[in-house]
Amino acid sequence: MKKKYDIVIIGGGPAGLAAAISAYDHGVQDVLILEREENLGGILNQCIHNGFGLTRFKESLTGPEYAWRFIDGVRERKIETLVSTTVLSVSRDKQVTAINERDGVFTIQAKAIVLAMGCRERSKGALNVAGTRPAGLYSAGTAQKYVNMKGYLPGQKVVILGSGDIGLIMARRMTLEGAKVLAVCEIMPFSSGLKRNIAQCLDDFNIPLYLNHTITKIEGKERVTGVVISKVDENKRPIVGTQRYIECDTVLFSVGLIPENELTKSAGVPLSLKTKGAIVYQNRETLIDGIFACGNVLQVHDLVDFVSEEAETAGVGAAEYVLYGNREKDVIDCKNGQNVSYVLPQKIDRNQKGIVKLYFRVTNTFKNCVIKLKSGEKVLTERKKRIAVPGEMESFLLTEELLAAVNGEIELSLEC
């Protein structure tokens, strides 16, 4: 087998596929995609509901349909792919070590690497919920895999903890499969899911959403028999006297996604504590030259459309790195200010031309506020915002002129 490639892409989900296509179209054809599963498409393969592609294709596709558009693109270009192959480690000098049944453990030298490993779900274990540890406790994505990929129903009477999108979608999916979803509990005063998912997955099926609520105890020895839910105060502590018992055989946890950055760490790429993904420039190059990151491994996206967009940027970046080598940078640091939980990219290189789209998330629900971009004390520009919620990623466009006026660093904040 070939042991050297210009670009090696780790992960064949929507991010990896789009990065491969854009790198190819940008003039670098010696590209290899490594994917652990048997099929390309990533997490989209288990998202058989529709609603994908509204922004990009202006139509509502299912997850697999969306993925197929990119898989076709990869096939048309005859980009090499190696599936059922897990990458074990990545080194600073861009050696990628992987394993599969046919070739054993092997190492490939790349000129540039694109990290596109996606994310994993935060597990129930991380929550320290009191009580027993029986069968019937699943993360929402695991339940989705059982239902959509394997054709099995994990349970019949369901309580969902956390109102992330996967949990909301599984509330509908399980209901359609004949299960009864008794409650969705969210510890925060707002849902982290998309508004449209709350409407289409809960409201349409009369599934109650309890905000400021959490599960305080799990009962059942072999299989779950019930849970105790409680209301929480502003500090998220359960309020005594508000406990309520709900009989159920299944609890789904939809309590957040975490970028899968084990490989990123193995290469020594610095990570952001806020996004839990790599720190990147606008072309999605990490702080190690020639290693790029995009998609959910970089920041947890709500919509796959933005994953594809970000991956295309990374693909172009990787292609340019292969074609022109490392170029000098003129760096602006981007900081998150008041009421903003993170901004991405964290660094802007002024020598890269073009408009920069600055992504960010807010820390809480805000109404009638102003987004301000400052450099030191100086306000560079501002924009009114009617409503902003943590569950929806926002963006702000930075023109070249605007960046020319910046000295050293910029800060994005939200003022009410």
Binding site: R36, S84, T86, L88, I99, N100, E101, R102, D103, G104, V105, R120, E121, S123, K124, G125, A126, N128, A130, G131, T132, R133, P134, A135, S139, G141, T142, K145, Y146, V147, M149, K150, G151, Y152, L153, P154, G155, Q156, L176, E177, G178, T216, E222, R223, P238, D249, T250, E260, E262
Partner: protein, 475 residues
């Protein structure tokens, strides 16, 4: 008719079973759960205690010391992870330093080597994350850590490879005494006959004792734990204990042999073998950990759990023949340091007690070494490729967090003692023990179990009994 039947598949029963296979005896073990190591030997701190704790002259003190010395080579033979990381008993005041000297002198009387009281400066060198308030510590260089369920599983597996038989799902509910032995009955109606019985049933041991006509009351004291991700594995290197006070020993902070950090246990008197966690219990664990160390990365919690210590009012190990039933032996009240002591207990029980009933003839075929190739990821590159060439399923990663291959999972189902559920596979391979806690790999592991056992996927359980994963097919 077996010569000896061991009741209870914990570490004590397991090592006794293995010890018995060193002799020409027909032996078996019965366990009420669907897998072995489901009691105390599943959920404990995994510390190989140095031996300064137990009162001078007790069985605890004696077997702790011998067990501590036996553990490294036993672990090596069985392919079980053991690390000699050393223990530190940390003092937070002048009075506590006094107590450290008492512990040191008690330890020395018990025969523990190398004990040393160190000051804050030295402590800080050993443990940079120790609390600002810590003033000194007792260093016990012979302290270590071991994986308790691996040790139990490996000892029973090795005993089976040497001819012992295992019956899981055999919940003993009746014992009939006859002239030349016993008939032991299970809840599901099975019967097994044996000449000699050894009661190693942990918290269930009181019931077995009463079936034999003895009265030994076994009580439960629960301990809750929190486990942190390997990413935080460098928080501490030694096992850190608080200085014991009248109120008890407090929690400990320790690395595990797999590179995680374990915090706990609490101590709560309970009625039965209830292993629920409680919010107060877990809060006590985190409070203790924060008192011991700076910057405890609690955000890296991957799971919490509890175990129940089985103790008697004697507060020492009970290793003796039944009063009412000759030919039966009790091994009860084996609370901490029971894990440490277990190899020594096993040797004592077989050589001193079983020997009264049989003439012990050496089994020349006894093979002490268990195939130790368990963890694929620890092999060299050449070894890995050699294995994949022989069996391609070692080239397929199933558990991504711990990098466990399909080959290892299949082997866990096929090898002694066979894993028959998700948790049993987890304890043998670590698949599902990492940071995602089985989120990704559980469906694959379930399919592999179903395939190997030739059962439908709906019949795969989390941990035996009615703990089914699934509730039928989709529409």
């Amino acid at each position: 008719m077996y010569d000896v039947l061991v009741i209870g598949g914990g570490v004590v029963g397991g090592l006794i079973l293995r010890e018995l296979t060193k002799y020409r005896l027909r032996v078996a073990l019965v366990e009420k759960e669907d897998d072995v190591s489901m009691g105390q030997s599943r959920a404990n701190s995994g510390i190989v205690h140095a031996g300064y704790d137990a009162a001078v002259g007790t069985l605890k003190a004696k077997f702790n010391l011998i067990g501590n010395r036996m553990m490294p080579s036993l672990a090596k033979d069985l392919g079980v992870k053991y690390v000699n990381n050393g223990s530190l008993v940390v003092a937070f005041s002048k009075e506590e330093i006094e107590t450290l000297y008492e512990l040191k002198s008690r330890g020395e009387q018990n025969g523990v080597a190398g004990l040393q009281v160190i000051d804050r400066t030295e402590l800080l060198k050993l443990e940079p994350n120790i609390s600002e308030e810590a003033v000194g510590a007792l260093l016990a260089p012979t302290g270590g850590i071991v994986c308790p369920y691996e040790l139990t599983i490996a000892s029973i597996g090795n005993a089976m490879d040497n001819g012992a038989e295992l019956f899981c799902g055999f919940d003993v509910c009746g014992i009939e005494r006859a002239q030349d032995g016993f008939t032991v009955q299970s809840v599901s109606g099975q019967e097994i006959q044996a000449k000699v019985l050894i009661n190693c049933a942990g918290i269930g041991g009181g019931k077995i004792a009463s079936l034999l006509g003895d009265s030994i009351i076994v009580k439960g004291r629960r301990g809750q734990y929190i486990l942190l991700d390997r990413e935080s594995g460098d928080l501490v290197k030694h096992t850190l204990f608080f200085t014991p006070t009248k109120k008890g020993k407090g929690i400990l902070v320790s690395p595990t042999v797999d590179g995680n950090i374990i915090l706990g246990p609490t101590a709560e008197e309970i009625e039965d073998d209830n292993v629920e966690t409680t919010s107060i219990g877990l809060e006590n664990v985190t409070a203790g950990a924060k008192k011991m160390c700076k910057n405890v990365p609690l955000y890296n919690t991957i799971t919490s759990f509890a175990g129940t210590r089985a103790y008697t009012d004697k507060h020492d190990f009970i290793l003796e023949e039944s009063e009412a039933s000759p030919n039966a032996i009790h091994c009860l009240g084996i609370e901490s340091p029971g894990l440490t002591a277990s190899p020594a207990i096993a040797k004592y029980v077989v050589e001193e007690l079983v020997s009264k009933h049989f003439e012990l003839v050496k089994n020349e075929d006894f093979q002490p070494i268990r195939k130790p190739d368990y963890f694929f990821k620890n092999l060299s590159l050449e070894e890995k490729n050699e294995m994949i060439q022989k069996d391609p399923s070692y080239g397929k990663i199933v558990c991504r967090c711990e990098q466990i291959t399909e080959g290892e999972i299949v082997r866990a189902v096929r090898e002694n003692p066979p894993a028959r559920n998700i948790d049993a596979v987890k304890r043998r391979t670590r698949a599902g023990m990492g940071r995602c806690q089985g989120g990704f790999c559980q469906p694959y592991v379930a399919e592999l179990i179903a395939r190997e056992l030739q059962i439908p996927l709906e019949q795969v359980t989390k941990s035996g009994g009615e703990s089914y994963l699934l509730r039928g097919k989709t529409k």
